[in-house]
């Protein structure tokens, strides 16, 4: 059942392939804007690179949160899911991970390219990709709560960012901190393990919260 949801969502996403690319292009454009704003100074760019990439990843995954539930909400499949005997939390977990696969993975794959654009050393690029690998699922999981809460509201898109961004801050702090620590020679082990811990906590708590939020919104 869990895999069915993920498979179904991936299938749906594949039909509208362009959606995946919009998130990706948004991420690339935002990251490339900063040098234009800040100037081509190499070592300035290198120091701000992790922060910029992470903030862009935050924004990219958050902007595409609306899509997790809205299509199913509009054509009624969400009601079926609520009524179905399957546990709602599992379904919601499936949908959040599907969202991660659609938006998270492309970001991770393209982040080395952006690392080079920011002239990051090789190991920093590796750590950046690794921290994104651990961090972006957390973004999708927590974001699913915001998406469920603001289902069907008129100002929904803006509201999600208001609800969810404060909750993203620990992920941002340790995500970009990991890269900076590795660049500073401290080694990113501590940061990455903390990100892993956040991921485990999120995997346990957020599906239940999203399920209850969905039940509230769908009443």
């Amino acid at each position: 059942m869990f895999l069915w949801v993920i498979q179904r969502d991936l299938l749906l996403a594949m039909r509208r392939r362009f959606d995946i690319l919009t998130t990706l292009f948004f991420f690339v454009i935002v990251v490339s804007l900063f040098p234009l704003g800040i100037g081509p100074e190499i070592n300035i760019l290198r120091t701000i690179a992790p922060g910029v990439v992470w903030v862009a990843a935050l924004l990219a995954s958050m902007l595409s949160l609306g899509r997790i539930f809205s299509n199913d909400y509009l054509d009624g499949t969400l009601e079926q899911m609520l009524i179905s005997p399957q546990s709602l939390s599992l379904l919601v977990l499936g949908k959040a991970l599907a969202h991660w696969l659609i938006t998270g993975i492309p970001l991770i794959l393209i982040s080395p390219l952006l690392g080079i654009q920011y002239n990051l050393p090789l190991d920093a690029i590796l750590i950046l990709a690794l921290s994104l690998l651990l961090g972006t699922p957390i973004l999708s999981l927590i974001g699913a709560i915001g998406a469920a809460l603001t289902l069907g509201l008129r100002g929904g898109g803006m509201l999600v960012s208001l609800l969810v961004l404060p909750l993203y801050i620990p992920v941002l702090v340790f995500g970009s901190g990991a890269v900076e620590a590795s660049a500073g020679g401290l080694g990113a082990g501590a940061h990455l393990s903390l990100l892993g811990a956040f991921l485990l906590i999120a995997l346990v708590i957020t599906p239940w919260a999203t399920a209850s939020a969905l039940r509230i919104s769908m009443e």
Partner: protein, 246 residues
Amino acid sequence: MAINWFKYSSPASFYTLAGKMIPYFSVVASGLFLLGLYISFFIAPTDSQQSEAYRIIFIHVPAAWMSMFLYLIMAIWAAIGLAFNTRLSAMIATAIAPTGAMFTFLALWTGALWGKPMWGAWWVWDARLTSELILLFLYIGFMSLQAAINDPRRADKAGAVIALVGAVNIPIIYFSVKWWNTLHQGASVSLTQSPKMATTMLTGMLIMGLACWIYSIVVILIRTRAIILERERHTVWVSELQGSSQ
């Protein structure tokens, strides 16, 4: 005799109970405020390092206490409202948010005003100030979510979920901001360790804290009664109420 707690959980009886309590609380609150101010300005000695500027502590620290305390209380009421489906507890949670946000804003503003003479900068990315700022975002998120949903029942429940999720995150945010602060700057610029707590200073601060607490009870009760009126407009007891125009 068993106190029937649930008697006061119905909006009607709570409305009258709150009505009776508000005058007493407001008298106590204003008394405590005057006492606290008197102590903070006239009895507390001049601090050795910071001379007079430290007197801002008498409003800054109570405001910070209240901002965190009220968020916790809001989360508890939200949880009760979600668990027992009692409308009144959700109303109280909704009533707490603006006062909490006000105290957070106050803590930030007085913190900045205190930071200027002490650290020479209006805003310093000190761990506590930053997590206070994030707390303000949490409050604003809660209030805007409730404002966006026009059906009161769904607004209460949705607000409860975001309040609880926020409450779970507060320790994590504080911890990560504290780490972030110490890692980035070499010597972490923290508030100069608070002046050695002469007893009068401490009592002044505690009294001001108590005054802020009772003040927020008064304001929250008034706002809860307003919310009760808003939501129970169509009921019979509200129309009877007009007779007493209380």
